[in-house]
Symmetry: C2
Subunit: 139 residues, 2 copies
């Protein structure tokens, strides 16, 4: 999977950490170690879910859309990475006569969907606030 989920978590934790709870894409990009355009794209996806709020124009930037203790990693995952666990490439050939070759795709599809639900719900035990605490405690 791509790193958008990690970037999203890092960015939100960074916002939670800052006194003003606000930063520009450039400041976030610097902390995350990537480029501002990428941060803006990630933030756009988070904004659609209400996880951040945007302020355009001079002295604009991003701020948390909710209390850090209310934003779970599962929610972040759903907002930005849904489907990332399943490989794009599929095995078999749906038009093939063999039932294994033709049906494995749809069965694996279902298994991946269920597994991803379980993954996202596992991630719900973490919040931006709890990750921030872990990071502060980390030596």
């Amino acid at each position: 999977m791509d790193s958008n989920f990690t970037i999203a978590v890092h960015s939100l934790v960074y916002l939670a950490y800052l006194p003003g709870h606000m930063a520009s894409s450039e400041a976030i990009a610097h902390n995350v170690a990537t480029n501002p355009v990428r941060i803006r794209k990630v933030m756009s996806a988070l904004r659609n879910e209400g996880l951040v709020k945007t302020k355009e124009g001079v002295r604009g930037g991003y701020m948390l859309g909710e209390d850090p203790g209310k934003i779970t990693l599962g929610h972040i995952y759903e907002a930005i990475a849904r489907g990332a666990l399943q490989p794009d490439w599929q095995t078999g050939d749906p038009k093939c006569g063999c039932p294994i070759s033709s049906n494995t795709q749809s069965v694996m599809d279902l298994i991946f969907k269920e597994a991803e639900d379980s993954y996202a719900s596992f991630l719900n035990q973490f919040t931006v606030a709890s990750v921030l605490l872990q990071i502060k405690a980390d030596k």
Copy 2:
């Protein structure tokens, strides 16, 4: 992630499906819709975990190493895809003064490891035999 896990599951289900429970890399590759070399690589990894047995030489190929009902998808995942859930790319810079930038990597690392454990254990509810049944029932 790459598709090795899906290929592994498909291959083992295919072996379980065949009357003789045995097939060459070429036959498996054809069913999976990939090339024989790739199947051999996947099978090598599965062999290290005892999930398949190999027979070299004429009329050789691969056969199941255990009862299809005993092989769980979690075990297959561990054998071939451990670590695939975590992106290679990491955020932040461990040498940076800011605690967020420098510690997010190790904290996310731990979260991904735990999440992957939970993912693999979710997959343990499925076996090669149960997937085969699902595939046969699929219309």
